[in-house]
Symmetry: C2
Subunit: 195 residues, 2 copies
Amino acid sequence: MDDALQQLTALVARLPGLGPRSARRVVLHLMKNRETVLQPLLAALKRVDASLVDCSVCGNLDTADPCRICTDPKRDPALLCVVADVADLWALERGRLFAGRFHVLGGSLSALDGVGPDDLSVDALKARVADGVTEVVLAMNATLEGQTTAHFVAEALAGAGARVTQLAHGVPVGGELDYLDEGTLAQALRLRRPV
Amino acid sequence: MDDALQQLTALVARLPGLGPRSARRVVLHLMKNRETVLQPLLAALKRVDASLVDCSVCGNLDTADPCRICTDPKRDPALLCVVADVADLWALERGRLFAGRFHVLGGSLSALDGVGPDDLSVDALKARVADGVTEVVLAMNATLEGQTTAHFVAEALAGAGARVTQLAHGVPVGGELDYLDEGTLAQALRLRRPV
Protein backbone atom coordinates (compact mmCIF):
# COMPACT_ATOMS: atom_id res chain seq x y z
CA MET A 1 0.00 0.00 0.00
CA ASP A 2 1.18 3.51 -0.83
CA ASP A 3 2.58 5.73 1.98
CA ALA A 4 -0.17 8.34 1.75
CA LEU A 5 -2.83 5.61 1.85
CA GLN A 6 -1.12 3.88 4.74
CA GLN A 7 -1.04 7.13 6.71
CA LEU A 8 -4.72 7.83 6.00
CA THR A 9 -5.66 4.26 6.95
CA ALA A 10 -3.74 4.55 10.24
CA LEU A 11 -5.59 7.77 11.09
CA VAL A 12 -8.99 6.30 10.22
CA ALA A 13 -8.19 3.14 12.22
CA ARG A 14 -7.73 5.22 15.37
CA LEU A 15 -11.23 6.74 15.19
CA PRO A 16 -13.66 5.39 17.83
CA GLY A 17 -15.39 2.19 16.71
CA LEU A 18 -12.99 1.54 13.84
CA GLY A 19 -9.98 -0.74 13.53
CA PRO A 20 -7.34 -1.59 10.90
CA ARG A 21 -9.72 -3.77 8.91
CA SER A 22 -12.70 -1.42 8.82
CA ALA A 23 -10.32 1.50 8.16
CA ARG A 24 -9.06 -0.23 5.01
CA ARG A 25 -12.64 -0.73 3.87
CA VAL A 26 -13.45 2.94 4.51
CA VAL A 27 -10.32 4.15 2.70
CA LEU A 28 -11.01 1.89 -0.29
CA HIS A 29 -14.58 3.15 -0.41
CA LEU A 30 -13.28 6.75 -0.38
CA MET A 31 -10.82 6.01 -3.19
CA LYS A 32 -13.46 4.32 -5.33
CA ASN A 33 -15.89 7.21 -4.90
CA ARG A 34 -13.76 10.32 -5.06
CA GLU A 35 -16.30 12.78 -6.44
CA THR A 36 -19.28 11.44 -4.52
CA VAL A 37 -17.75 10.56 -1.14
CA LEU A 38 -14.14 11.63 -0.59
CA GLN A 39 -14.44 15.20 -1.85
CA PRO A 40 -17.74 16.01 -0.07
CA LEU A 41 -16.24 14.55 3.13
CA LEU A 42 -13.12 16.69 2.70
CA ALA A 43 -15.27 19.80 2.20
CA ALA A 44 -17.46 19.00 5.23
CA LEU A 45 -14.42 18.42 7.47
CA LYS A 46 -12.85 21.68 6.29
CA ARG A 47 -16.07 23.58 6.95
CA VAL A 48 -16.48 22.14 10.43
CA ASP A 49 -12.83 22.76 11.31
CA ALA A 50 -13.09 26.35 10.16
CA SER A 51 -16.46 27.29 11.65
CA LEU A 52 -17.20 25.30 14.81
CA VAL A 53 -16.39 26.64 18.28
CA ASP A 54 -17.10 25.53 21.85
CA CYS A 55 -19.77 27.72 23.42
CA SER A 56 -18.02 29.63 26.23
CA VAL A 57 -21.23 29.56 28.30
CA CYS A 58 -22.44 25.96 28.12
CA GLY A 59 -19.77 23.97 26.24
CA ASN A 60 -22.00 23.09 23.27
CA LEU A 61 -20.48 22.92 19.78
CA ASP A 62 -21.82 25.59 17.43
CA THR A 63 -20.84 28.15 14.82
CA ALA A 64 -21.85 30.93 17.22
CA ASP A 65 -20.46 31.74 20.69
CA PRO A 66 -22.60 31.92 22.82
CA CYS A 67 -24.38 29.08 20.99
CA ARG A 68 -27.90 29.24 19.58
CA ILE A 69 -29.31 27.34 22.56
CA CYS A 70 -27.84 29.81 25.06
CA THR A 71 -29.18 32.82 23.12
CA ASP A 72 -32.61 31.33 22.30
CA PRO A 73 -35.13 33.65 24.02
CA LYS A 74 -37.79 30.89 23.97
CA ARG A 75 -35.81 28.74 26.39
CA ASP A 76 -36.29 29.10 30.12
CA PRO A 77 -33.03 30.51 31.59
CA ALA A 78 -34.03 29.31 35.09
CA LEU A 79 -33.97 25.65 33.99
CA LEU A 80 -30.58 24.01 33.43
CA CYS A 81 -29.85 20.46 32.21
CA VAL A 82 -26.37 19.16 33.05
CA VAL A 83 -24.92 16.56 30.65
CA ALA A 84 -21.51 14.90 30.55
CA ASP A 85 -20.89 15.26 26.83
CA VAL A 86 -22.07 17.15 23.76
CA ALA A 87 -23.35 13.79 22.43
CA ASP A 88 -25.81 13.65 25.36
CA LEU A 89 -26.95 17.20 24.59
CA TRP A 90 -27.53 16.10 20.97
CA ALA A 91 -29.52 13.07 22.16
CA LEU A 92 -31.86 15.28 24.21
CA GLU A 93 -32.07 17.91 21.46
CA ARG A 94 -32.96 15.33 18.77
CA GLY A 95 -36.32 14.93 20.45
CA ARG A 96 -36.50 18.64 21.47
CA LEU A 97 -37.14 17.24 24.93
CA PHE A 98 -35.92 20.05 27.15
CA ALA A 99 -37.21 23.63 27.25
CA GLY A 100 -34.35 25.06 29.34
CA ARG A 101 -30.66 25.48 28.64
CA PHE A 102 -27.74 23.07 28.94
CA HIS A 103 -24.42 22.75 30.66
CA VAL A 104 -21.81 20.35 29.26
CA LEU A 105 -19.43 19.07 31.94
CA GLY A 106 -16.91 17.75 29.45
CA GLY A 107 -16.83 14.14 30.67
CA SER A 108 -17.69 11.74 33.47
CA LEU A 109 -15.57 11.07 36.54
CA SER A 110 -13.51 7.97 35.79
CA ALA A 111 -10.38 6.78 37.54
CA LEU A 112 -9.79 4.39 34.63
CA ASP A 113 -9.81 7.14 31.99
CA GLY A 114 -8.02 9.59 34.30
CA VAL A 115 -10.91 12.05 34.47
CA GLY A 116 -11.00 13.84 37.84
CA PRO A 117 -13.13 16.65 39.33
CA ASP A 118 -10.79 19.31 37.88
CA ASP A 119 -11.49 18.11 34.34
CA LEU A 120 -15.20 18.94 34.62
CA SER A 121 -16.57 22.48 34.28
CA VAL A 122 -18.20 22.48 37.73
CA ASP A 123 -17.06 25.97 38.77
CA ALA A 124 -18.63 27.46 35.66
CA LEU A 125 -21.80 25.49 36.46
CA LYS A 126 -21.89 26.87 40.01
CA ALA A 127 -21.51 30.41 38.69
CA ARG A 128 -24.37 29.86 36.25
CA VAL A 129 -26.61 28.35 38.93
CA ALA A 130 -25.95 31.33 41.24
CA ASP A 131 -27.19 33.57 38.43
CA GLY A 132 -30.93 32.88 38.81
CA VAL A 133 -31.29 29.16 38.03
CA THR A 134 -34.12 27.51 39.99
CA GLU A 135 -33.79 23.88 38.86
CA VAL A 136 -30.80 21.81 37.73
CA VAL A 137 -31.63 18.50 36.01
CA LEU A 138 -28.76 16.02 36.12
CA ALA A 139 -28.97 13.98 32.89
CA MET A 140 -26.13 11.48 33.32
CA ASN A 141 -25.75 7.97 32.00
CA ALA A 142 -27.15 5.28 34.31
CA THR A 143 -23.64 3.80 34.58
CA LEU A 144 -21.23 3.74 37.51
CA GLU A 145 -19.28 6.72 36.07
CA GLY A 146 -22.44 8.63 35.22
CA GLN A 147 -24.00 8.17 38.65
CA THR A 148 -20.73 8.99 40.44
CA THR A 149 -20.58 12.20 38.43
CA ALA A 150 -24.22 13.00 39.23
CA HIS A 151 -23.57 12.58 42.98
CA PHE A 152 -20.44 14.73 42.74
CA VAL A 153 -22.28 17.54 40.90
CA ALA A 154 -25.25 17.34 43.29
CA GLU A 155 -22.89 17.75 46.24
CA ALA A 156 -21.08 20.65 44.58
CA LEU A 157 -24.44 22.38 44.08
CA ALA A 158 -25.65 21.86 47.67
CA GLY A 159 -26.59 25.23 49.11
CA ALA A 160 -26.54 26.96 45.74
CA GLY A 161 -30.25 27.61 46.09
CA ALA A 162 -31.50 25.59 43.12
CA ARG A 163 -33.54 22.39 43.19
CA VAL A 164 -31.38 19.52 41.91
CA THR A 165 -33.21 16.65 40.14
CA GLN A 166 -32.16 13.72 38.01
CA LEU A 167 -33.57 11.57 35.20
CA ALA A 168 -35.99 8.83 36.28
CA HIS A 169 -34.88 5.21 36.25
CA GLY A 170 -37.22 2.46 35.12
CA VAL A 171 -38.41 0.20 32.32
CA PRO A 172 -37.57 1.83 28.95
CA VAL A 173 -40.55 2.42 26.64
CA GLY A 174 -41.01 -0.74 24.54
CA GLY A 175 -38.87 -2.69 26.99
CA GLU A 176 -39.74 -6.31 27.73
CA LEU A 177 -39.27 -7.33 31.36
CA ASP A 178 -37.77 -10.65 30.35
CA TYR A 179 -34.88 -8.87 28.61
CA LEU A 180 -34.13 -6.27 31.29
CA ASP A 181 -31.30 -6.52 33.79
CA GLU A 182 -32.03 -6.96 37.50
CA GLY A 183 -30.82 -3.47 38.36
CA THR A 184 -33.36 -1.82 36.09
CA LEU A 185 -36.16 -4.09 37.34
CA ALA A 186 -35.23 -3.38 40.98
CA GLN A 187 -35.28 0.39 40.34
CA ALA A 188 -38.56 0.19 38.42
CA LEU A 189 -40.14 -1.74 41.28
CA ARG A 190 -38.75 0.51 43.99
CA LEU A 191 -39.92 3.65 42.17
CA ARG A 192 -43.38 2.20 41.29
CA ARG A 193 -46.18 4.72 40.92
CA PRO A 194 -49.98 4.57 41.29
CA VAL A 195 -51.78 3.90 37.96
CA MET B 1 -26.83 20.00 16.09
CA ASP B 2 -25.30 22.62 13.82
CA ASP B 3 -25.86 22.34 10.02
CA ALA B 4 -22.19 21.81 9.19
CA LEU B 5 -21.92 19.10 11.85
CA GLN B 6 -25.12 17.46 10.66
CA GLN B 7 -23.83 17.35 7.09
CA LEU B 8 -20.49 15.89 8.19
CA THR B 9 -22.26 13.30 10.38
CA ALA B 10 -24.49 12.28 7.46
CA LEU B 11 -21.45 11.77 5.22
CA VAL B 12 -19.58 9.76 7.85
CA ALA B 13 -22.69 7.66 8.54
CA ARG B 14 -22.74 6.52 4.91
CA LEU B 15 -19.20 5.08 5.03
CA PRO B 16 -19.04 1.27 5.04
CA GLY B 17 -19.38 -0.22 8.52
CA LEU B 18 -20.66 2.99 10.10
CA GLY B 19 -24.16 4.18 10.97
CA PRO B 20 -25.78 7.31 12.43
CA ARG B 21 -24.73 6.45 15.97
CA SER B 22 -21.10 5.58 15.31
CA ALA B 23 -20.88 8.58 12.95
CA ARG B 24 -21.89 10.89 15.79
CA ARG B 25 -19.21 9.34 17.99
CA VAL B 26 -16.58 9.79 15.27
CA VAL B 27 -17.59 13.42 14.63
CA LEU B 28 -17.52 14.24 18.33
CA HIS B 29 -14.10 12.63 18.63
CA LEU B 30 -12.90 14.75 15.69
CA MET B 31 -14.28 17.93 17.27
CA LYS B 32 -12.70 17.17 20.63
CA ASN B 33 -9.30 16.50 19.08
CA ARG B 34 -8.91 19.09 16.36
CA GLU B 35 -5.14 19.42 16.28
CA THR B 36 -4.37 15.78 16.92
CA VAL B 37 -7.07 14.01 14.88
CA LEU B 38 -9.24 16.23 12.68
CA GLN B 39 -6.47 18.26 11.09
CA PRO B 40 -4.10 15.33 10.39
CA LEU B 41 -7.06 13.45 8.88
CA LEU B 42 -7.91 16.44 6.69
CA ALA B 43 -4.32 16.66 5.50
CA ALA B 44 -4.11 12.91 4.79
CA LEU B 45 -7.37 12.97 2.83
CA LYS B 46 -6.20 15.96 0.80
CA ARG B 47 -2.88 14.28 0.05
CA VAL B 48 -4.52 11.04 -1.05
CA ASP B 49 -7.09 12.87 -3.17
CA ALA B 50 -4.37 14.88 -4.88
CA SER B 51 -1.79 12.16 -5.43
CA LEU B 52 -3.41 8.75 -5.84
CA VAL B 53 -4.23 7.30 -9.28
CA ASP B 54 -5.49 3.96 -10.58
CA CYS B 55 -2.67 2.06 -12.27
CA SER B 56 -3.62 1.86 -15.95
CA VAL B 57 -1.96 -1.56 -16.23
CA CYS B 58 -3.21 -3.52 -13.23
CA GLY B 59 -5.81 -1.33 -11.48
CA ASN B 60 -3.82 -0.93 -8.24
CA LEU B 61 -3.97 2.39 -6.35
CA ASP B 62 -0.65 4.22 -6.29
CA THR B 63 0.98 7.61 -6.70
CA ALA B 64 2.70 6.35 -9.86
CA ASP B 65 1.13 5.06 -13.10
CA PRO B 66 2.15 2.34 -13.92
CA CYS B 67 2.27 1.48 -10.21
CA ARG B 68 5.36 0.39 -8.30
CA ILE B 69 4.34 -3.27 -8.44
CA CYS B 70 4.00 -3.20 -12.24
CA THR B 71 7.39 -1.52 -12.66
CA ASP B 72 9.27 -3.57 -10.02
CA PRO B 73 12.01 -5.44 -11.93
CA LYS B 74 12.27 -8.06 -9.14
CA ARG B 75 8.77 -9.34 -9.82
CA ASP B 76 8.21 -12.12 -12.34
CA PRO B 77 6.25 -10.66 -15.29
CA ALA B 78 5.20 -14.15 -16.39
CA LEU B 79 3.23 -14.71 -13.17
CA LEU B 80 -0.06 -12.90 -12.73
CA CYS B 81 -2.41 -12.93 -9.72
CA VAL B 82 -6.00 -11.92 -10.45
CA VAL B 83 -7.93 -10.32 -7.56
CA ALA B 84 -11.40 -8.82 -7.39
CA ASP B 85 -10.50 -5.71 -5.45
CA VAL B 86 -7.57 -3.54 -4.40
CA ALA B 87 -8.27 -4.65 -0.80
CA ASP B 88 -7.45 -8.24 -1.82
CA LEU B 89 -4.21 -7.08 -3.43
CA TRP B 90 -3.35 -5.30 -0.16
CA ALA B 91 -4.12 -8.47 1.82
CA LEU B 92 -1.67 -10.50 -0.30
CA GLU B 93 0.93 -7.71 -0.30
CA ARG B 94 0.81 -7.32 3.50
CA GLY B 95 2.51 -10.69 3.78
CA ARG B 96 4.59 -10.12 0.57
CA LEU B 97 3.14 -13.46 -0.46
CA PHE B 98 3.30 -13.22 -4.23
CA ALA B 99 6.40 -12.73 -6.39
CA GLY B 100 4.56 -11.92 -9.62
CA ARG B 101 2.33 -9.02 -10.63
CA PHE B 102 -1.36 -8.38 -10.09
CA HIS B 103 -4.50 -7.71 -12.03
CA VAL B 104 -7.45 -6.05 -10.27
CA LEU B 105 -10.79 -6.97 -11.86
CA GLY B 106 -12.68 -4.18 -10.14
CA GLY B 107 -15.31 -6.35 -8.43
CA SER B 108 -17.01 -9.75 -8.29
CA LEU B 109 -19.90 -10.87 -10.49
CA SER B 110 -23.06 -10.27 -8.48
CA ALA B 111 -26.61 -10.05 -9.76
CA LEU B 112 -27.61 -8.55 -6.42
CA ASP B 113 -25.12 -5.67 -6.62
CA GLY B 114 -25.64 -5.27 -10.38
CA VAL B 115 -22.06 -6.22 -11.28
CA GLY B 116 -21.93 -7.97 -14.68
CA PRO B 117 -19.09 -9.23 -16.92
CA ASP B 118 -18.76 -5.81 -18.59
CA ASP B 119 -17.89 -4.20 -15.24
CA LEU B 120 -14.77 -6.34 -14.84
CA SER B 121 -11.49 -5.59 -16.65
CA VAL B 122 -11.35 -9.01 -18.33
CA ASP B 123 -10.37 -7.74 -21.80
CA ALA B 124 -7.36 -5.94 -20.33
CA LEU B 125 -6.50 -9.16 -18.47
CA LYS B 126 -6.66 -11.20 -21.70
CA ALA B 127 -4.37 -8.71 -23.45
CA ARG B 128 -1.85 -8.94 -20.57
CA VAL B 129 -1.98 -12.74 -20.54
CA ALA B 130 -1.35 -12.83 -24.32
CA ASP B 131 1.80 -10.78 -23.67
CA GLY B 132 3.99 -13.56 -22.22
CA VAL B 133 2.21 -14.62 -19.02
CA THR B 134 2.68 -18.33 -18.26
CA GLU B 135 0.54 -18.70 -15.12
CA VAL B 136 -2.55 -16.89 -13.91
CA VAL B 137 -3.46 -17.42 -10.22
CA LEU B 138 -7.11 -16.69 -9.48
CA ALA B 139 -7.22 -15.30 -5.92
CA MET B 140 -10.95 -14.83 -5.37
CA ASN B 141 -12.99 -14.99 -2.18
CA ALA B 142 -14.31 -18.46 -1.36
CA THR B 143 -17.86 -17.09 -1.61
CA LEU B 144 -20.54 -17.71 -4.22
CA GLU B 145 -19.71 -14.41 -5.98
CA GLY B 146 -15.97 -15.01 -5.76
CA GLN B 147 -16.15 -18.52 -7.14
CA THR B 148 -18.58 -17.50 -9.91
CA THR B 149 -16.11 -14.78 -10.89
CA ALA B 150 -13.21 -17.25 -10.82
CA HIS B 151 -15.08 -19.63 -13.15
CA PHE B 152 -15.97 -16.78 -15.48
CA VAL B 153 -12.36 -15.55 -15.66
CA ALA B 154 -11.03 -19.09 -16.12
CA GLU B 155 -13.40 -19.58 -19.06
CA ALA B 156 -12.44 -16.24 -20.58
CA LEU B 157 -8.77 -17.27 -20.39
CA ALA B 158 -9.30 -20.73 -21.95
CA GLY B 159 -6.99 -21.05 -24.94
CA ALA B 160 -4.93 -18.00 -23.96
CA GLY B 161 -1.91 -20.24 -23.48
CA ALA B 162 -1.36 -19.66 -19.76
CA ARG B 163 -1.83 -22.14 -16.93
CA VAL B 164 -4.80 -21.02 -14.81
CA THR B 165 -4.69 -21.96 -11.11
CA GLN B 166 -6.63 -20.92 -8.02
CA LEU B 167 -6.05 -20.62 -4.26
CA ALA B 168 -6.29 -23.86 -2.30
CA HIS B 169 -9.33 -24.52 -0.13
CA GLY B 170 -9.01 -26.18 3.26
CA VAL B 171 -8.69 -25.77 7.00
CA PRO B 172 -7.27 -22.30 7.77
CA VAL B 173 -4.04 -22.26 9.78
CA GLY B 174 -5.01 -22.25 13.46
CA GLY B 175 -8.53 -23.36 12.57
CA GLU B 176 -10.36 -25.76 14.87
CA LEU B 177 -12.44 -28.41 13.11
CA ASP B 178 -15.25 -28.01 15.60
CA TYR B 179 -15.73 -24.38 14.56
CA LEU B 180 -15.48 -24.84 10.78
CA ASP B 181 -18.46 -24.99 8.45
CA GLU B 182 -19.33 -28.19 6.61
CA GLY B 183 -18.33 -26.76 3.23
CA THR B 184 -14.76 -26.12 4.36
CA LEU B 185 -14.51 -29.53 6.02
CA ALA B 186 -15.86 -31.24 2.89
CA GLN B 187 -13.29 -29.43 0.71
CA ALA B 188 -10.46 -30.17 3.14
CA LEU B 189 -11.38 -33.83 3.14
CA ARG B 190 -11.80 -34.07 -0.62
CA LEU B 191 -8.46 -32.33 -1.27
CA ARG B 192 -6.61 -34.35 1.43
CA ARG B 193 -2.90 -34.90 0.79
CA PRO B 194 -0.37 -37.51 1.86
CA VAL B 195 1.51 -36.57 5.04
